[in-house]
Symmetry: C2
Subunit: 398 residues, 2 copies
Amino acid sequence: MSKVRGGRVKFDPKRILMSGGATGANELIMFCLADPGDAFLVPTPYYAAYPRDLCWRTGLQLIPVHCDSSNNFKITREALESSYKKAKDDNINVKGLIITNPSNPLGTSLDHDTLKSLVSFTNDKNIHLVCDEIYAATVFDSPRFVSVAEIVQEMDDSSLKKELIHIVYSLSKDMGFPGFRVGIVYSYNDTVVNCGRKMSSFGLISSQTQHMLAAMLSDDEFVDNFLKKNSLRLAKRHEHFAKGLEEINIKRFPSNAGLFYWMNLSTLLKEQTFDAEMALWRVIINEVKLNVSPGSSFNCLEPGWFRVCFANMDDETVEVALNRIRAFVIGNKKETTTNNSSRGKKSVVEVKKRWQQNLRLSFSSSRILDHHENVMSPHILSPHSPIPASSSPLVQAT
Amino acid sequence: MSKVRGGRVKFDPKRILMSGGATGANELIMFCLADPGDAFLVPTPYYAAYPRDLCWRTGLQLIPVHCDSSNNFKITREALESSYKKAKDDNINVKGLIITNPSNPLGTSLDHDTLKSLVSFTNDKNIHLVCDEIYAATVFDSPRFVSVAEIVQEMDDSSLKKELIHIVYSLSKDMGFPGFRVGIVYSYNDTVVNCGRKMSSFGLISSQTQHMLAAMLSDDEFVDNFLKKNSLRLAKRHEHFAKGLEEINIKRFPSNAGLFYWMNLSTLLKEQTFDAEMALWRVIINEVKLNVSPGSSFNCLEPGWFRVCFANMDDETVEVALNRIRAFVIGNKKETTTNNSSRGKKSVVEVKKRWQQNLRLSFSSSRILDHHENVMSPHILSPHSPIPASSSPLVQAT
């Protein structure tokens, strides 16, 4: 944890709680901090599975703090105050604020001042601040990642109520170990540490895996190299993907972290509604065969945003993905032109066929094709979602 | 699972839910079946951590079905009806019955007819039956273990509502893998399977561990040998320990399974109360230095019962334990005699010193002594307990 944060902060091992993945860690901290019916504020857009992880079994509720593209989805004090006031007016007991830093789905890390303002806001209101820092090591460009632990360290001599601050961490994203189910809660609150430790029996980490990880993470050289290389590779992939999108004029949100892009496809929507966003999502999933997540699943207020992951595939697959996007956007433009000239349905099919042919050319073997068809098929959308409708885009988000 | 049940039943892999240990599996099935405030019946004495595992975070409550030694703690229909009626009278919504078969702490497996009667009872009342079978492979003597899955198979053509039946399993006890955190829920209920699968994200098993276990459990010869040897060794240890206890006239409950004895120390109580039981427990923990669990922590209605684990130690340690018990019981008898002859406090100290000296002789090296002192020290009682008081005997039970 310290290495990922540039060695700028020290963590006390006694304050670390282990849990089954970030999913279990997020639930654990909520069980510790809130009773059923209590609420946590969460800036939008936010991780699509938060309702499951934070609320499903704990019975608490999320109050969105709506942010928008007009100021680059900045979390402003005004937006926080507004959501907090509304909740209070509705007689809802607000227990805290949870943020994801770096953000999923935005792919941005919070700057020092914004983070400090969130600490101040939560301290002023005497509510908890939970910082989900599971993407900490995915920051590959400036500004550098600032952990809330740094803010705590800076403000520690002042009247900071650090017992209101908690960090969620995991090795799933930063070390690429999602299958190892290593989730961590780091809390500055003694009561939470005591309570959470008793709760960790529900999601302990396999001793075999702990043993291997202890050996692996004790190897400073390996970890340093891994983090460095990972960052360089992410930067490279990010740049490559960005260029591909720029070529076809797809707007993407400027990002410096994460394993994904937040891209704006609003120009492809038939109308600026979430229904149109869902319609486009279905086309992308079922016909373009790309596994993207619509903004509505992240509770984004503006239709047309989509999150596309670029990190979990090899170089060849990236080209397949870019070709598919390219073909789809070009096809879509032609389709729009064709529709405008009233040539009707037949030519739409022709256009589709054209880009489908283009795509097939980009595959090097049928085995890879099969593989990708499987990976991207909506039939194997993650079953680990509480959302009953199997067609829900929420099950896409990871 | 099938092997452990003598190959007499077949399990459908699609009905298996994985979870982080039996702790997580027990919680998962409760989250699926009950709402906060709902209740489950549970025969006494029962696993001391059930209140944590089943109720702490789910908000449900346990209604004891009191069983006693007069009929060997048999779970009778009368006792079940009585607890069920009382709960109904108190306007409590009874959602099911949970049993541990083989029993922890009794070390006995349920016979076929009793198990069938429990299925009938729950079916008649239209409530769920959860069978915690985590000690299935610890049966080392007749009667053989009967899984509820066999009853389901037998009654499947009749009007059995098998969707009310669920099995909890784990590899912690049967295969000796508690650290691997492999818990399983096997449910005959499609809705539970669907819901539980979405919930399993909170306690998934490390992929590394899954990989190793798949290889290990696919080796039929290894598993068959392991189960056979395990059973033989348990039987041998059970017999050896039994003889040791018989020599000093300690009554133990006749058992055929489990990793522990349920022994009756009521003759050592100063009076037949739970306060006296706790007083004796403290002496055993702090002075005799044996890690036993008092019956009250298992919600047993009769004072004086204690559970002692005999399986998780090597032969030498067994001798140390038996020597300690022997010395304590003999010392205790001498103490009683001495007290009766009004010689006062000094001689009690003398007696204690004597059996402490005896004990020291039984250790082969100071390293082992240190080790055992640590293992048995109350200072390292399991921290994974929701019970706040560190002196609670509940934290002893595993």
